[in-house]
């Protein structure tokens, strides 16, 4: 077991000279540079989004006043005379997102509590993949479902309306779409709460429900609220379900049984039509898009902030 003399033996490490100074090796900096460029693509994307929206929005507001846009109650860009009040679209978006939230947030949270505090392992191994499958269903499929099942079989018989399109049928399905999101993020928050807190409560004689309600959920609250915000943001940005099932005419109302048009559905409608580039009507989709972007951005930023605060405490 001698150390083989470097001089004898056919196979060895390449001989090394004296301890050298840094060679001007181009390989390492090149790799570093290429990878940095990849990371910068994300920054460029954000700039591009903001620049694109901004450019057309500014051009739009040269012709239409902010007051009319945010204050007007009729949205008829393709009439003469045109009217550019975005409130009907905004109301449509908020109505659907609100109803969807009403439906999905409690169910999602309860599902999360069930998964983290109650469900035995075998049930979890069934339910979680199922929720993932639900989350992976393309929204156009959900839109079809809303149009061909929820509307004729649930909403119309239940409420006796004859309208094919309604905010309610779209909201229910938007809610279904969002349940897995709420459930998985809330569950992450709940499981991040340390066992010690639960054990302490159990040791005092609390029931499982009480521990969940009074100890775990409050401890995970900021994480749960973050998941709610992300879900609402997602509902606001949803396009295909509302384009198929909610309606195609702007309608300022709070009646869920009426047809409404959301901001996203409007943008799709214009794209499907023959709008000339550079026209004011074309610019409307960017103005509406900018509004949409800012709304979701604010919700996402607050949600990220809450999540980071939550992680600070528990991780």
């Amino acid at each position: 077991m001698d150390r083989v003399n470097s001089m004898s033996g056919a196979s060895r490490i390449k001989p090394r000279g004296a301890l050298g100074t840094k060679r001007r090796d181009w390989r390492e900096p090149a790799v570093h540079g290429v990878l940095l460029l990849c990371a910068l693509v994300s920054i460029l994307t954000t700039f591009a989004i903001v620049a694109t929206l901004l450019e057309e929005t500014i051009a739009f507001f040269e012709e239409v006043s902010l007051a009319e846009f945010f204050g007007g109650t009729t949205w008829t860009p393709n009439f003469t005379p045109a009217s550019y009040g975005v409130l009907p679209l905004l109301a449509g978006t908020m109505l659907i997102a609100g109803l969807a939230a009403l439906f999905a947030l409690p169910i999602g949270l309860i599902t999360a509590v069930f998964l983290s505090e109650y469900a035995p392992a075998w049930l979890r191994s069934i339910l979680k993949p199922l929720l993932e499958v639900l989350a992976g269903i393309p929204t156009v499929v959900l839109g079809f479902f809303a149009l061909t099942f929820v509307s004729p079989e649930i909403v119309r018989p239940l409420f006796g309306t004859s309208q094919i399109f309604s905010a309610l049928s779209a909201s229910i399905v938007v809610g279904i779409m969002v349940i897995p999101l709420v459930s998985s993020l809330s569950e992450d928050a709940l499981t991040a709460v340390p066992r010690a807190l639960r054990d302490g409560a159990y040791a005092l004689g609390a029931t499982r429900f009480e521990v969940a309600r009074r100890v775990v959920v409050p401890a995970a609250l900021s994480g749960i609220v973050a998941s709610f915000l992300l879900a609402v943001s997602r509902a606001v940005g949803e396009t295909m379900i509302v384009a198929l099932a909610a309606g195609g005419t702007p309608n300022l109302t709070y009646d869920p049984l009426e047809a409404v048009q959301t901001m996203t559905a409007y943008i799709v409608q214009v794209s499907l039509g023959d709008t000339a580039q550079g026209s004011i009507e074309f610019r409307t989709i960017f103005a509406v898009g900018m509004t949409l972007f800012l709304m979701t951005l604010v919700m996402n930023v607050i949600s990220q902030y809450l999540l980071s605060k939550f992680r600070e405490v528990y991780e």
Binding site: D2, R3, G9, S11, R12, I13, K14, L19
Partner: protein, 287 residues
């Protein structure tokens, strides 16, 4: 009582293994010693504002085993990791002073740290083989360092030197993670040997292993010391007494910076230490 036991360990070791002439040399007078293989000169280490090592002078003789002992937190790991600049990646790390390796300061400006690490092998506290085959683990070093001849030969030689060849020669393609803890650590030693290092650093190599595996590795160390210079950090004084030729003792000063308080042949450190703190430590009064 403890000190007597340690003294007995050292003496019995000398009886069993033929002691080379070098160990007889009186190390009290450092000027007599041949040029040290690697040397820390006035080395101080800072992590941000916190000073981890203070003014360490250490001359490590070649082809011997030098042990660094001391209580937890006294900077042993920090010191040994300075020898191959593994501390560089820790944020806030700053070194003052010099570490001479073959006469050149490895902390000098412009020195290629990859080049430094290619000449020095390191074995870690917890065995950390790559999640690849046994062959691939040992082959990785020669591959990236460049080799001549046949890789198979280099791998076999390294595994033989690490006393692992017979146990794995039929299963070189199997995953390294399937080996036992002791085998994995010997694999890590083989991996380090494959790059034909000039110096081998071992940071508490046996602390995660059972006593049987530990003894195997200590035997291996003494075999390797015939041809390699080895520095080992250990919190186990008996191990240092069993295995090393020279021992460096470190202590935490009041400012919580680590200091080298004594460096002498192992026999002297454990039978007749010069520093009172050393004596207190080896007799178990603290630490």
């Amino acid at each position: 009582m403890i000190r007597e036991n340690l003294a007995r360990v050292v003496e019995s070791r000398d009886l069993v293994t033929p002691s080379e002439p070098q160990t007889q040399v009186d190390r009290q007078n450092r000027e007599d010693v041949a040029e040290p293989f690697v040397e820390a000169i006035d080395l101080s280490v800072f992590y941000g504002a916190f000073q981890a090592l203070k003014n360490v002078h250490l001359q490590v003789p070649s082809t011997e085993i030098t042990a660094i002992i001391g209580p937890s937190g006294c900077g042993k790991s920090t010191l040994i990791r300075c020898f191959n600049r593994m501390n560089d990646s820790i944020p806030g790390f700053r070194a003052e002073g010099q570490v001479l390796f073959r006469g050149r300061d490895i902390y000098a400006r412009g020195i290629d740290v990859v080049d430094v690490r290619r000449r020095i092998g390191m074995v870690f506290q917890k065995p950390n083989p790559f999640p690849k085959s046994i062959y691939e683990n040992v082959a990785f070093g020669p591959r990236i360092n460049g080799y001549e001849g046949r890789l198979q030969e280099i791998v076999e030689r390294a595994l033989r030197q690490a006393a692992l060849w017979d146990e794995v020669k039929d299963k070189l393609k199997q995953s390294a993670l399937a080996l036992s803890g002791g085998q994995q650590q010997r694999l890590c030693i083989a991996r380090a040997l494959a790059i034909e290092p000039d110096l081998i650093l071992m940071d508490e190599p046996c602390s995660a292993l059972d006593p049987v595996a530990t003894l195997k590795i200590e035997d291996l160390m003494r075999e390797l010391a015939r041809d390699y210079t080895i520095i080992i950090v250990t919190h186990n004084m008996q191990q240092a007494a069993r295995v090393s030729d020279s021992t460096a003792v470190m202590m935490m000063s009041e400012s919580r910076a680590g200091e080298l308080i004594e460096f002498a042949p192992t026999k002297e450190v454990f039978t007749n230490p010069r520093n009172k703190q050393t004596e207190d430590y080896i007799t178990g009064r603290f630490g």
